[in-house]
Symmetry: C2
Subunit: 325 residues, 2 copies
Amino acid sequence: MVIIALDSGKTKTNAVAIDDSLNVLCRVSDRGGGLIYSDEVIMNALMNVIVECMRVMGIRVNDIDVIAVSWADLDTEAYWIKASRIINELARRINIPRSKLVFDHDAVAAYYAVTLGEPGVAVIAGTGAIALGVNARGERARSSGWGWLIGDEGSAGWIALKALNAASRAYDGRGPWTSLVNRLKDYFKVKDLLSILDVMYAEPPEIDKLAKLAILVSEEAEGGDEVSVNILKEAGRELALNAVTVAKRLGMINESIVVGGVGSVFSSRIVNEEFRKVISNSLVKAKVKEPLIGNYSLLGPIIMSLSRINKKITNTDVEKLLKEL
Amino acid sequence: MVIIALDSGKTKTNAVAIDDSLNVLCRVSDRGGGLIYSDEVIMNALMNVIVECMRVMGIRVNDIDVIAVSWADLDTEAYWIKASRIINELARRINIPRSKLVFDHDAVAAYYAVTLGEPGVAVIAGTGAIALGVNARGERARSSGWGWLIGDEGSAGWIALKALNAASRAYDGRGPWTSLVNRLKDYFKVKDLLSILDVMYAEPPEIDKLAKLAILVSEEAEGGDEVSVNILKEAGRELALNAVTVAKRLGMINESIVVGGVGSVFSSRIVNEEFRKVISNSLVKAKVKEPLIGNYSLLGPIIMSLSRINKKITNTDVEKLLKEL
């Protein structure tokens, strides 16, 4: 058995091939293949990693059992249509049966990584934030994931924007003092905080870069800054509300479901504790898993692939994979 | 006497010339001359309107008493240096004594338009928001004006972003239902609200365009939508907090100062009532003026010019000017 799992995002397309014993047979990367790009750019990124994987392993297309693609941005009808078109064309070009190709939103991949396919909810908080759940009837619901402009409450991008706002309010005297004022001055190398306006509005902001400010917030919070602590606590509550909302819509409030956080924001002790607290109070029978942080993004499409060929996976398997990926 | 008042923003540079009796002698426009542009672009915009005004009136540079420029974005040290450089060069090119040229932040211009130069605070809420105050000792303070990414609480841009967020929360089930969901679907011509993601993230957002959503919020609020009402009330409170903060920093909490709102957001009855309520409670001796809405942006540089030549202006003069501008 050979499966190829792909994670295709804005900046990178990563792929691994896995055998029966869940050994990683190859690991390759190409440029970004997120759905914001043209069909040809995406197609090339996907083709490149698949062809390179086959070359490394010395296999042919017929030897592959499943190819699973996890896609960021697969939010709207327009993107679903685009993704289907690309997958159909990919099947034609590499001459593989369409039935061997699966794709889904990277939030669904995260859901699989957290729950191994059991009823439950995964809450993802990296640069953006989204919750995705599936109940015993296979029904799905999502919450948040509206991007940095509209929402993504609790994400690193959201924490960064909250921090900038809190610092501006402190500077003006409209809000409580916070050590973020000085941290942000240092970070942006300005003498007067107001001069960050030159940096922020010179060109359209890139939320991926701004999101890094969340690390400063975490550091200041651990150092005792009350404003930073409150931002992180609010992040934890928003992320938990996300999970609870999904559970409610799927009729799982009183079910023994699996709930877990995924992504860098959960590395904050404060976020994580607040998240657990709200989940425990609202979803009393839920099993809250330890957050998945680090290189988990390929775990989802791997489990999606295994589920396509009806192969069960255990928590021990996941631990093995997480070490190898 | 002839004064020329200029208002130089991102999309337009407007100018009027005024005589002794405050008659408008000419009115001209050119392309934007905001400080985000290159020196030459700004210089050309300023030169064009000044030269055109002189041509219309049939006067020479020597006949001009004052030229006052009101500039958006004059927030940071870098922009102050740029503006000074441009004004010095402008004086050289049109051969006018540097002392006849004045320039300032458009928030200062708004302050003059509201207070006629008396101690007080102007709170501006258009696309962005800022409060600017001056006390009896001539000391200045500002609050907010951090732009749509960081703050600008209470502005039309802020109201628009709050509305998008509230609609997303209602759609998910994370927040109370709001009629904004359907208004935004109609506005963006999408069947499913989630499809606004295609619109919002296809290219960098322009806050000037987004800010127009504030009108929908006002309409839904007047139609009874509780979520919209709360957004506008919060806007009013934030704008009032802005004024109170400035008054506090200038030691004017218990002084008989003039406080007034400027800009399109104050055309909302709900914003305006909430603003007045907080101001009356916090600045008990303040005289709250009726908001200046509409074509007030040249009033500031006109009053700045008159103040430069020590000419007093009355509220009757202002009413006359507001009708003519």
